[in-house]
Each structure stands twice: as structure tokens, then as C-alpha cells.
């Protein structure tokens, strides 16, 4: 593998507008039973003050993808650029990958009876376009980046956020810029 592509999610900029989630569905017209990308509202108690903070998670194209390891039909492959691609033609719908992924990103399509997930819009990338979610992000909180040491050494770049599973399980190719909270004058204090 020559490089590892992944997402950089800026929680400081993200407003939880869910445009990325629906732009993904718009691009692929995916069934209602699957959510390749999902915006999560982080729990209030994980922060020093109440807040509405969000993360937007699709497949993390992990360095050690559990989906790929457990899949009995070799539906998963990891490309040279690190994208974990799921080939739905091979899938037999055993759902083992949905049990193995800490991020719940392989999603079972209730109509097709097969799993599907974010393939990082590799067809768009191959044509020089941004992934649909990144292109749709109004506050520009979501970026496609190369995950490397240089990125990890940058100040403010985090490997995990409160609410995310321990990254050591799969080494997800996602990085975060942590949420920032302003001053609050609230009536309940």
C-alpha cells in the first residue's frame, strides 16, 4: 500500500447539518435501510458544558479492517490508496462484517439482503472529484486527507474523540479536530 486515504473531521466546524449523510444517499440513491454515512450527536455529558456537538462517520477505511479479515467471501479489498472497497457482487449477506466493525459501517440492505458501505467514492476520486460527502459539506468540516505521520504531528489533530471506540482495534483512517466550546450564559446555573 503506497498511501492511506481517510477523512479529517473538524468537530469545531461541524454543525451537525447532516448534509453529508444525505448527499451520500443522493449520490448513490441508497436504500432507506442503510446509512453509509451517519452523523452522530455526541453525548452532552462527555463535555464540560452542555452542547450540540457532532461527528460524521462513514467507513473509516481502517489500517486493519476487521470487515476484510472476517469476510468469508473476499468481498473486501484494500486498494493501493488504502480505500477498503466492498464488492457487493461477492457478498452473500452473512452479516459477519456488521458484527466485527466497531463503527457499524457495513450496513445490511434489508431489500437486497446484502451488505454495503462507503467505498470513499473511489469512482469519483478516480475521476478527480471529491467524495460526495466532502463536496456537500457546507461548513467545510469534512476533508479527504492522506493519513500519515505528518498529519498526526499537527497540533490539534486527534485520533479519537469522546464517544468513539478505542482506535487500537482497527486503526481507523479518520482523524479529528476536536470541538471547541465558547462561553455560555445559561439559565440553569
Amino acid at each position: 500500500m503506497s498511501k492511506q486515504l481517510g477523512f479529517l473531521h473538524n468537530s469545531e466546524k461541524c454543525i451537525g447539518c447532516r448534509g453529508c449523510e444525505m448527499a451520500c444517499k443522493n449520490e448513490y440513491q441508497s436504500d432507506a435501510s442503510v446509512r453509509w454515512r451517519q452523523v452522530y450527536q455526541l453525548r452532552e455529558k462527555d463535555f464540560s458544558q452542555p452542547t450540540r456537538m457532532f461527528i460524521s462517520i462513514a467507513c473509516n477505511h481502517c489500517e486493519n479492517p476487521e470487515c476484510l479479515r472476517v469476510c468469508p467471501v473476499k468481498a473486501y479489498t484494500k486498494r493501493e490508496d488504502g480505500i477498503v472497497v466492498h464488492d457487493q457482487d461477492r457478498c452473500i449477506g452473512c452479516k459477519l462484517c456488521t458484527m466485527a466493525c466497531p463503527y457499524d459501517r457495513p450496513q445490511f440492505n434489508a431489500i437486497l439482503k446484502k451488505v454495503e458501505k462507503c467505498n470513499l467514492c473511489y469512482e469519483r476520486l478516480d475521476q478527480g472529484q471529491q467524495p460526495a460527502c466532502v463536496a456537500a459539506c457546507v461548513p467545510e468540516a469534512l476533508e479527504l486527507v492522506e493519513i500519515n505521520e505528518e498529519l498526526d504531528l499537527k497540533v490539534g489533530v486527534l485520533k479519537t474523540l469522546p464517544g468513539m471506540p478505542n482506535p487500537s482495534v482497527t486503526n481507523p483512517s479518520i482523524r479529528f479536530i476536536g470541538p471547541k466550546q465558547g462561553k455560555q450564559i445559561r439559565r440553569d446555573v
Binding site: 468469508p72 449477506g93 458484527m99 468513539m164 471506540p165
Partner: protein
């Protein structure tokens, strides 16, 4: 939390029982071989029918497993990732086990053939299949599964139900000592299983997800039933049977077997439903 994965429950419990039966037959054969006990037609018939029951169970199990798949007719493709997928390996081993069983079934029809080797091979492949099954669920994502628990409990199921089925099938043919030996193994396994489960419970507390699994089980009425019919009642019944001087009553064995099967099925159902994986903790 997971789902009630009934096809997988049927597959694992029946498949494990099937392997356990062949294993018991091997135990009996080996002992009889050592003691050079003369083979009666009744005994021959018992071996034949037991092998048949084992095969039917294995076949039903494997068919049931297909119902778990979104695309059962493409199940053959599941053999294509032996490199890292325990599911591929499990299926391969069960296919081999089934092949071995078929040869064993053939042998059992030929009078005078020596079967203990083939029984060892069949049950050995079966046990490897069961271990592979368990390793499928040994997922880092699921702390309740990511330990020796699945391997131990899957093998326990095989022994408990294998011995009880074999004891019941051999109730008229086997010597009292043989039946009691099987029941003793069953008793040891049920008690062992219950004790190991207690240890397993304390292990679960180590992670938040494991604790959630434990919490789910402790508050689930199904788990109470599973404890009663899977552990308490069989222990009582089998103990009663082996401690009495006379031959164990077939009704008692049947009752213990029924309870054991119900307990293992419910237990396996809970295994899937109570599994709590690491996940993104957020408002839903």
C-alpha cells in the same frame, strides 16, 4: 445488543450435538475395543442409528445455517477466504466433517468394519469446526466474545448434548456402566459449564461492553429459564440417575436431554442477543 439469530442458534447447537455424538461413539468403541466386548446386532444397530442421528442433525444444522445468509444459494463462495476468515475455515471443516461422517455411515453398514479410527477423524474434524465456529465470534469489537469463552462453551455444548443423546439412544443396548459413564461425563460438563460461566461473568465486568452484556443477562427472564433448564434441572436429574444403583431410567435421561437442549438453545440465543460490541456512543 444483537438479535435472536435463530438459524445460527440451530446451526451451532445441532452441529455441536452431532459432533458430540460421534465423539461418544468413539469413546464407547474404544472402550469396547480394549475390553474386547463382543459386538451384538443390537449394539451394531445402536451404532448405525446413532451415526444416522448425528448425520441428520449435522445436515439440519448446515441447512439451518443457510437461512442466516441473505443469499443462501451463494453459500459456496464462503469457502474463498481461508486466509483470514474463520467463517471460511469453519465451513470447510464442517464440510470435511460431513464427508468423514458419510464415509463413517458407509462403514457402519458394512458388518465387521473397524470404525473407531473414522469416528476419531470425524469427531476431530468436527471439534476443529466447532473451534473455528467459536473463533468467528472472537472479535476484538465484542469484548464479551473476545476471549476463550466461545470456544469453551461451544465445546461444552457438544459434550453435554452429545453424551445425553448417545445415552438416550443407547438406553436399551448399552451396559449400565456405559450409560453411567456417559452420564457422568454429561454431569461433569454441565457442572463445569455452570462454574465456567460464573468465571466468565466476572471476566465480563472488565469492559463496559462486557458489563452491558452481563447486565442484560442478569435482567433477562430468558436467562433465568436458561439457568434453570440448562444447568439446575439437568444437574439434579443426572445426579439422581448416576447415584442410583439400578439402571438409569430412560425417562429421566430423556427429561434431562430435553432440558439440556432447551437450555443450550436459549443459552445460544442469549449469546447472540446479549453481545454488546464497541460502538460510537452518541445520542440516537
Amino acid at each position: 445488543m444483537g438479535n435472536w439469530e435463530w438459524p445460527l442458534v440451530i446451526f451451532t447447537v445441532l452441529g455441536q450435538t452431532s459432533v458430540g455424538i460421534i465423539f461418544c461413539l468413539w469413546l464407547l468403541e474404544r472402550k469396547r475395543g480394549k475390553q474386547a466386548t463382543a459386538t451384538t446386532t443390537e449394539y451394531q444397530g445402536f451404532i448405525q442409528s446413532s451415526i444416522l442421528v448425528s448425520g441428520v442433525l449435522l445436515a439440519v444444522a448446515m441447512i439451518a445455517s443457510l437461512f442466516h445468509l441473505g443469499h443462501p444459494f451463494a453459500a459456496y463462495r464462503a469457502l474463498t477466504h481461508l486466509g483470514t476468515s474463520w467463517l471460511s475455515r469453519e465451513i470447510l471443516l464442517f464440510v470435511f466433517a460431513f464427508g468423514a461422517w458419510a464415509y463413517l455411515a458407509l462403514l457402519s453398514r458394512k458388518p465387521g468394519s473397524k470404525m473407531s479410527g473414522m469416528m476419531a477423524l470425524t469427531s476431530g474434524l468436527g471439534f476443529l469446526g466447532i473451534i473455528s465456529s467459536a473463533l468467528i465470534y472472537t472479535l476484538p469489537r465484542v469484548p464479551a466474545w473476545n476471549n476463550l469463552g466461545p470456544v469453551i462453551f461451544f465445546l461444552m455444548t457438544s459434550i453435554i448434548l452429545g453424551t445425553l443423546v448417545t445415552a438416550f439412544l443407547g438406553r436399551k443396548v448399552l451396559a449400565s456402566a456405559e450409560v453411567k459413564q456417559l452420564l457422568n461425563i454429561a454431569l461433569g460438563s454441565v457442572i463445569g459449564s455452570a462454574i465456567l460461566y460464573l468465571l466468565y461473568f466476572s471476566l465480563l465486568q472488565a469492559t463496559p461492553e462486557g458489563a452491558a452484556t452481563a447486565q442484560y443477562l442478569l435482567t433477562s427472564p430468558v436467562f433465568l429459564v436458561r439457568v434453570a433448564v440448562g444447568w439446575v434441572i439437568p444437574i439434579f436429574l443426572i445426579m439422581n440417575a448416576v447415584l442410583k444403583k439400578e439402571n438409569p431410567q430412560p425417562q429421566i435421561i430423556l427429561f434431562a436431554l430435553t432440558c439440556g437442549v432447551a437450555g443450550e438453545l436459549l443459552g445460544r440465543g442469549l449469546f447472540y442477543v446479549s453481545a454488546m460490541g464497541m460502538h460510537i456512543t452518541a445520542l440516537m
